[in-house]
C-alpha cells in the first residue's frame, strides 16, 4: 500500500509510482490523502494488518507527520519511507539541507542516508528486509538529498522484479490484527510497563545493527553491490584527519580526499550511512586511530551546533581519546558545497591541530561578514 502527499522535492518519486500503479507494473493500492499525517496514519493502518507499505515526504511534510513517526516506531510498524531532505521553513525554501530528518532523529526510526541514485534504489529494497526482520520491526526512513539525488539524472542498474521478489519475500508477522487471532494494538501502558516497551524499541534498534550487515551481504550475493554496515570508511587507513559526511556530499568529498592525498595529505573520510542506529563503535574506534575529526553538518541545532557533530562527539567523549573535533555547518537552505569549501574544512582541521584555530564550530561559505 502506498500513500503519500505531494511536496517538492519528493514529488518525482510519488508521480513515478502513480504511473507504475496505473500501468500495472507495480501491484499496489495507491491512496491519495489530504495530508502527511494521514499518509503515515494510513500506512500504519495497512501495516497493522500485515500489509507492506511505502510513503514519501520531505521537510514540512515530515514535520507535519512528526506525531505519527513516533507512533509508527512505538507501534513497531515496519514501514519504509523516502524522505527528500529539504530545508525547513522559516524562511521557506524548497532546497536541500538535512534539518528535517536530523531534527527528528529521536523519533525511533532507522535513518539511512544515501549517497547516489544507485544506493537510493538499493537501499529501498534493503530497507524492507531490515524493517521487517522480526528482531527489528522498526520503520526505516531513507533520506535522499533534495534535488542532488531526487532531481539529478544518472544511469543506474535496476534489479529485475524477480530478483527483488526472491530477495524480499512477502511480509509475514504474528504481530498484526488477524481475523483468526484477534489482537488489540497500539494500546496504553502505565508507569509499571511503559519503560519495558521503550527498552524493547531500543533493543530492536541495536539488534538492527547485525541485521543491516547481514542484509547487505545477502544483497551483495544476489545483486553484486554492497555498501558496508553503518558507515563506510574511505582512505581512513593511514589518515590523520578525517571528515565525517552524510548523504550526497560524500561524493564531492571523495574527490577532494583523492586530490589532497595526491598532494601528500593524510586525510580520509567517514561516510555515515545510518544515523540510527548510530555507529558508535565505529566512531570510537576511529577516534583511537586519528588525530582530528571534522564533521560536516547540513543542519544546525540553534544555540548549539550541528546534530551530526553532537552525535559524533558523544561517541568520542565515550572513547575518552581527547582528539580534536570540529564542526562545519554548510549547505543550509541549498547552499552549494564546493570542493574548495571542503578543502577549507581540512585546512581548518589542520589549523586546529596546530592550535591556530580555536573555534570548534563554524559556518562555511556564509557569504557575509559576521564580525561585530
Amino acid at each position: 500500500m502506498i500513500s503519500a502527499y505531494p511536496i517538492t522535492p519528493q514529488t518525482t518519486v510519488v508521480e513515478r509510482l502513480s504511473e507504475m500503479v496505473e500501468d500495472g507494473s507495480l501491484k499496489s493500492e495507491f491512496m491519495h490523502v489530504e495530508s502527511e499525517h494521514s499518509a503515515l496514519s494510513a500506512c500504519m493502518g495497512a501495516s497493522s494488518i500485515g500489509a507492506r507499505t511505502f510513503t514519501a515526504t520531505s521537510s514540512q511534510g515530515l514535520l507535519y507527520m512528526a506525531e505519527c513517526l513516533h507512533y509508527a516506531s512505538g507501534g513497531r510498524f515496519p514501514i519504509v519511507m523516502m524522505n527528500a531532505n529539504r530545508s525547513l521553513a522559516l524562511p521557506w525554501s524548497i532546497y536541500g539541507d538535512q534539518r528535517d530528518s536530523l531534527s527528528l532523529l529521536d523519533c525511533g526510526w532507522i535513518q539511512v542516508y544515501a549517497e547516489d541514485a544507485q544506493e537510493s534504489l538499493d537501499m529501498v529494497i534493503q530497507s524492507y528486509a531490515i524493517a521487517e526482520n522480526l528482531k527489528v520491526l522498526t520503520p526505516v526512513m531513507l533520506n535522499l538529498d533534495g534535488f542532488a539525488l531526487t532531481h539529478t539524472y544518472e544511469v543506474l542498474e535496476v534489479p529485475s522484479s524477480e530478483d527483488v521478489d526472491a530477495f524480499l519475500p512477502p511480509f509475514q508477522t504474528p504481530y498484526k490484527m488477524d481475523l483468526n487471532s484477534p489482537k488489540n494494538m497500539a494500546f496504553s501502558s502505565g508507569p509499571g510497563d511503559n519503560m519495558q516497551f521503550k527498552y524493547q524499541q531500543h533493543k530492536a534498534m541495536l539488534d538492527a545493527i547485525d541485521v543491516i550487515r547481514d542484509v547487505d551481504e545477502s544483497f551483495f550475493r544476489l545483486f553484486g553491490r554492497r555498501y558496508g554496515g553503518l558507515v563506510e570508511e574511505y582512505r581512513c587507513d593511514d589518515a590523520e584527519m578525517v571528515l565525517v559526511t552524510l548523504g550526497s556530499i560524500t561524493g564531492t568529498c571523495r574527490v577532494v580526499v583523492d586530490e589532497l592525498s595526491q598532494e601528500g595529505w593524510k586525510v580520509g573520510l567517514l561516510k555515515i550511512r545510518f544515523m540510527r542506529p548510530f555507529p558508535e563503535k565505529e566512531i570510537m574506534e576511529l577516534s583511537r586511530r586519528v588525530m582530528a575529526v571534522g564533521v560536516i553538518d547540513k543542519d544546525i541545532s540553534f544555540g548549539y551546533e550541528g546534530t551530526v557533530f553532537t552525535n559524533v562527539n558523544s561517541a568520542i567523549a565515550k572513547a575518552r581519546t581527547g582528539i580534536l573535533t570540529m564542526n562545519f555547518i554548510a549547505g543550509l537552505g541549498g547552499r552549494d558545497i564546493s570542493r574548495q569549501d571542503i578543502r577549507q574544512m581540512f585546512l581548518h582541521l589542520q589549523e586546529g591541530l596546530l592550535g591556530l584555530e580555536k573555534n570548534s564550530m563554524q559556518f562555511i561559505n556564509l557569504r557575509v561578514a559576521i564580525d561585530e
Binding site: R76, N184, A186, Q196, F197, Q200
Partner: protein, 105 residues
C-alpha cells in the same frame, strides 16, 4: 455467557515476557469492576417480562439472557442504575452495596 473472562496477570520478570510492541491478545481482562459500585441492581424475576431492553441499555454488557429472563454478571456491573431506570416492569431495584473487604485491584 459469551464474554471474556479474567486471566490472572503474571507480572513479567524477563523482558521477553512482554508482548513485542503494543500488540496483544484481544479481550484480555485482568481486573473486575465490582468494587466500583456503591449500589447494586437486584432483579425480581417474577416481574421480569424478558423484554431485554435493560440488556440493550447496560453500558457494561453485564446483563445476559437466561431462559427468557435476564441475569447480571456482578463482577463487572458498576451499579449505574440504568437497568433499573429503563425497566418498564420495575423488575430491578438498586440497593446500597455492602462494602466489604479487599478487591483485586
Amino acid at each position: 455467557m459469551n464474554r471474556p473472562s479474567i486471566t490472572k496477570y503474571k507480572t513479567p520478570v524477563h523482558i521477553s515476557e512482554y508482548p513485542v510492541g503494543p500488540c496483544y491478545q484481544a479481550g484480555h481482562l485482568v481486573t473486575e469492576n465490582a468494587g466500583w459500585r456503591t449500589e447494586k441492581p437486584i432483579l425480581d424475576k417474577e416481574k421480569c417480562t424478558g423484554c431485554f431492553y435493560c440488556y440493550l441499555c447496560c453500558p457494561e454488557g453485564v446483563i445476559f439472557k437466561l431462559d427468557g429472563k435476564i441475569e447480571i454478571d456482578y463482577s463487572f456491573c458498576k451499579g449505574c442504575g440504568i437497568c433499573a431506570r429503563v425497566c418498564k416492569s420495575e423488575a430491578i431495584v438498586m440497593i446500597r452495596e455492602a462494602k466489604d473487604g479487599a478487591d483485586g485491584c
